[in-house]
Structure formats: structure tokens, C-alpha cells
Symmetry: C2
Subunit: 166 residues, 2 copies
């Protein structure tokens, strides 16, 4: 399988998995497109290679920039903005973790913090308290781990997991 075929398939796979990763198909496709590009690309490149509209390309490139997965670079003599993906998984994965933590974990923790204090001396109230408390404690542990990964030094997770699984 050659370069172009690999690229195309990578873009298509990354895109088709997008929904289960909680991002739009286009956002994932553009990410894969830039991850597999040797050179920075313009919005026009993205539009024509991925066959999408300008508005769509613009919105999703910006989202990728917001997530920190892609950066704007200037090419001397060119007017259009060029975009380039961070290709080092150990650098971009924590950024994805940061966004997903914020969307998927933080709101649960915030809510459970108060819900687990449910009042009442009935058996059912006590049981609910225990259930919610258990979920809260578990979520907090995951949260601490994620926070450490997100802001930690680059090799930490890999080193830790490797050791752990040896």
C-alpha cells in the first residue's frame, strides 16, 4: 500500500470513528488529513481534497486549533493561512484528553459532588448515597489521573503504563 492509498484510508478510518469519539466526522477527517500531510495546508486545499464546503472547513479547522491539535503557520509570500497538525502522539493525545475530560468527566463530578449528599434516613436514601458516593470517588480518582497526565511531563504516562504492565 503506497502513500496516497494509506492517506486516503487513514482519513476515512479516522473520520468514521469520529462519532464514537464525540467529534464531528469532518473534524476528525481534517485532523487525519493534516496528520498525514507533509506540508502545511490551506483551507482551499482541505476543501478540495476532502470535498467539503468552506464554512465546514473553516469551523472545523478552528475547532482543531482551539483543541491545540493544529496550528496556524505562515508561509513566506503566501497570503492564505496554512495549517499544520502536531504529529507527535505524545504531544497531541494529552490535548484530546484535556478536552474530553472537560466535556465528559468534569460535569459529572461537579454534579455528584452535591448529589451524593442526599438527605434522609430511609434505607433507600442510604443506598442511593452509597451508590452516588462510590461513583463520585471513582470519578475523582480518574480525574486525578487524567489531570496528572494532561499537565504532566511528556513521557510520564508511557513510562508509568509500561512499568505497570511489564
Amino acid at each position: 500500500m503506497n502513500y496516497d492509498e494509506t492517506r486516503e484510508e487513514f482519513i476515512q478510518v479516522w473520520g468514521s470513528l469520529a462519532s464514537s469519539w464525540g467529534v464531528s466526522k469532518t473534524m476528525a477527517s481534517i485532523h487525519a488529513y493534516l496528520l498525514s500531510s507533509a506540508e502545511p495546508k490551506t483551507t482551499d486545499d482541505i476543501m478540495s481534497d476532502l470535498q467539503i464546503s468552506r464554512g465546514n472547513a473553516n469551523m472545523n479547522v478552528r475547532a482543531l486549533v482551539d483543541w491545540g491539535l493544529v496550528r496556524k503557520v505562515s508561509i513566506a509570500g503566501e497570503r492564505m493561512d496554512h495549517y499544520e497538525a502536531d504529529k507527535d502522539v505524545h504531544s497531541f493525545a494529552p490535548k484530546i484528553a484535556r478536552e474530553r475530560r472537560k466535556r465528559e468527566l468534569e460535569p459529572i463530578i461537579e454534579q455528584l459532588k452535591s448529589l451524593r449528599k442526599v438527605e434522609g434516613r430511609t434505607a433507600e436514601a442510604k443506598e442511593l448515597k452509597k451508590t452516588l458516593g462510590g461513583i463520585y470517588d471513582f470519578a475523582m480518582l480518574g480525574d486525578q489521573f487524567l489531570r496528572r497526565y494532561i499537565q504532566g511531563e511528556k513521557g510520564w504516562l508511557t513510562r508509568t503504563l509500561s512499568k505497570l504492565l511489564k
Copy 2:
């Protein structure tokens, strides 16, 4: 905040977060409903308390049973099926992890396994190979960790993470 208020809010929070967790809103609401129920509930209970249709209730309860988060229990003298949630987060979280791993991680790994072998001696082919290889290795590490958690003994993850974060 009393038992009923807490329950209602928990159901609503769990449901509203569903989309970012890759499950349908109803599936999450039913899960929260059963997690916060002292007694096993029938499809009719779910329908009337959550205000949803029979088809919807049936489909999503079955999905919860498939995931292993809820089990069918028989109540002596009652004809209708009753459903009860596994309330121990250390028992049900690995089941969620198992399903999400299957949907979100396994397909990427399967594809990257071959894509990372991209042929070509050009600079761009080499760079792509490096990028895809890096993502693959990282995904494999996460996969090993998840597998260990999913089929491991109950306290493993909590113990490990607690030690790690101390």
C-alpha cells in the same frame, strides 16, 4: 435535597451527558433510574416514570442488559420482567470500559496495524510511517492497560491508581 429530588436530578444529569459518552440519552436515563432505585423495576415502571414509549424502553433496557450493566430478575408471583442495575461502580465501570474499548479503540488498532506499514522511500512516506507508528504504539499501550482493567481482579485499578498518584 431529599431522595426524590436527588434521583430526578441524577437521572437528568446522567441523561444529558449521554451524548458525550456515546450512548443514547434514554439508555443513560434508564441506567440512572435503575441505579437509583431501591427495588427492581418493570418496563411499565420505566415507561411511566421516564415518560417514554414501550419500544424505546424495551430497546434500551436490552442494551443495558447486553452491556452487563443491568440484569433481569424474577419477582415471585409477578409475571412481568423486573430489571435491576449493578450498583457497584467497581463492578459496572469495567463493563462500560469493555464496550467502549471495543467500539472506540479496537477498530483504530486493527486499521493502524496495516496502515503503519505504508510503503515508499520518499520523505513524506517515511514521515507518515512514523506518525502512524507512533499512534499505533500509543494505542496498543492504552489497549493493554484497558484489557488488564477489564478482565482483572476487582480492586486492581483503584489500588494501582491510588499508589500511582500518592
